[in-house]
């Protein structure tokens, strides 16, 4: 289609061309004379083209050959470089680029994992420190507030403080987040009850222990009750525990129904 004008120029008579064909040639010729001139030019060029045999001298080839050898002999030293970055290959398909991308991928993932572990460690250590500091502050506050109370109350407070220590220790060891404010409230209420009466104080302690003796599960951490058993021995000394059935069998008297 694009070379249709050459086909049309092979015709002998301009007037034989259709209107559409003349339209194609309108930029080239508009009458028989111009048509003939173009036609003979094409014929002469076609004839001339066949006889042409121009070629550069052989010196050019020999020069280029030596240049080629020089370039590629020098390239032998950088054989690995040529292997990794061969010319005429799309950028992403060059082995060197692919290896570099792989390295970056591995390095990136390694760094990312390292960063995550590090940050987690830092966070847990910081939390433990903060908890410890808060508990220390609370201890001080509590000691200040009860310093002038009776020995019974002091005893009760000692129990509470040791309880708090147990909680704090277990929390720090297991990496568990324990709310300092909760501990604070509990200790404050215990201190207040200790100030009220001896019975009230002892009952409060028993309530706390009853709560603590239940298995407390926060996250994946179970509280260690070995330390709490020490408080049981302390509590025996207060003589406010309910006697066991073995000690006083008369406790069972009213529990049996007779028919």
């Amino acid at each position: 289609m694009e070379d249709k004008y050459l086909e049309l120029l092979k015709r002998s008579n301009y007037e034989d061309l259709s209107q559409a064909e003349k339209e194609i040639l309108k930029d080239l010729c508009t009458n028989q004379l111009e048509f003939d001139s173009a036609r003979y030019l094409m014929i002469d060029i076609a004839l001339m083209d066949k006889t042409m045999s121009e070629a550069p001298s052989k010196d050019i080839k020999s020069k280029l050959d030596s240049e080629f050898r020089q370039v590629h002999t020098n390239g032998e030293g950088g054989g690995w470089f040529r292997f990794l970055f061969p010319p005429l290959k799309p950028f992403v398909l060059r082995p060197g680029i692919q290896l570099a991308m792989l390295f970056v991928l591995f390095l990136g993932s390694y760094m990312m994992l390292e960063f995550i572990d590090f940050s987690q460690q830092t966070t847990s250590v910081q939390l433990a420190k903060e908890e410890h500091k808060a508990s220390e502050d609370l201890k001080e506050v509590l000691l200040d507030s009860v310093i002038n109370e009776t020995p019974v109350i002091e005893k009760s407070l000692e129990l509470d403080l040791s309880l708090m220590d147990a909680n704090t220790k277990s929390t720090a060891e297991d990496g568990r987040l324990f709310s300092a404010s909760n501990g604070n409230d509990q200790l404050k209420s215990n201190a207040a009850s200790a100030q009220g009466s001896l019975v009230g104080s002892s009952l409060m302690s028993r309530d706390d222990l009853a709560f603590k003796e239940e298995p407390v599960l926060l996250g994946e951490v179970v509280l260690d009750f070995e330390e709490l058993s020490e408080f049981d021995t302390d509590l025996k000394e207060t003589q406010f525990l309910i006697p066991t059935v073995a000690e006083s069998p008369d406790l069972l008297e009213n529990l049996f129904v007779t028919f």
């Binding site: 930029d27 010729c29 030019l41 070629a55």
Partner: protein, 194 residues
């Protein structure tokens, strides 16, 4: 990996270029045998038939291919690419010649003027080709390159457009202009006028 040596004569230009970039001498020989003559002819037609200069141009062009094979865009056809490089080299040469002409007004491109004056004197004794080259050299470079690529190197309109980085409509209009101009100036070879 190839077990057998490739048949270089049957390989496409682009594949030969890849082998050549790897240092395959035979691939280079094949590329040279395919393109040295047409490119030399192209330079001869565009550069006033100055043989030495045209040989230098061919040398420079192949040296570029040897030294910087990366310049070739593998997505393109090598044929159109190498002619586009040749065309740009001609443009640069025209600029250089124009500068030289301005500097040395008294000195004309001797060989060409000599041959053209001979042609003008003895128009019937000279061959059609001499007159054609003469007329081509008088022609504007942009029309000349389109005409040469189409009628001497056998490029299609699309290939010319790709090689010269212009659109096909422009190629067509330039080609018709060049044909009309040459047909007008070379009408003495038309049997009607003889």
């Amino acid at each position: 990996m190839r077990v057998f040596k490739p048949q270089y004569g049957k390989l496409p230009d682009e594949e030969l270029l890849v082998l050549m970039a790897k240092g395959d001498q035979r691939a280079f020989d094949e590329v040279y045998s395919r393109y040295s003559q047409p490119l030399f002819g192209y330079f001869m037609k565009l550069l006033a038939r100055d043989k030495e200069k045209c040989e230098d141009m061919v040398h420079d062009l192949f040296a570029k291919i040897i030294r910087k094979p990366d310049y070739f865009d593998v997505k393109r056809s090598f044929r159109t690419w190498v002619y586009s490089v040749a065309s740009n080299m001609c443009k640069n040469e025209y600029k250089r010649m124009a500068v030289r002409k301005n500097v040395k007004n008294d000195i004309e491109p001797a060989e060409f003027i000599q041959s053209s004056s001979d042609t003008l004197k003895t128009v019937h004794e000279k061959s059609f080709s001499d007159s054609l080259y003469h007329e081509l050299n008088k022609m504007d470079e942009k029309h000349k390159s389109v005409f040469v690529l189409r009628h001497f190197d056998g490029f299609s309109m699309k290939e010319i457009a790709e090689a010269l980085e212009i659109n096909e409509g422009t190629v067509k209009s330039r080609l018709f202009y060049a044909t009309k101009s040459l047909a007008g100036t070379l009408k003495q070879f038309n049997p009607i006028y003889q």
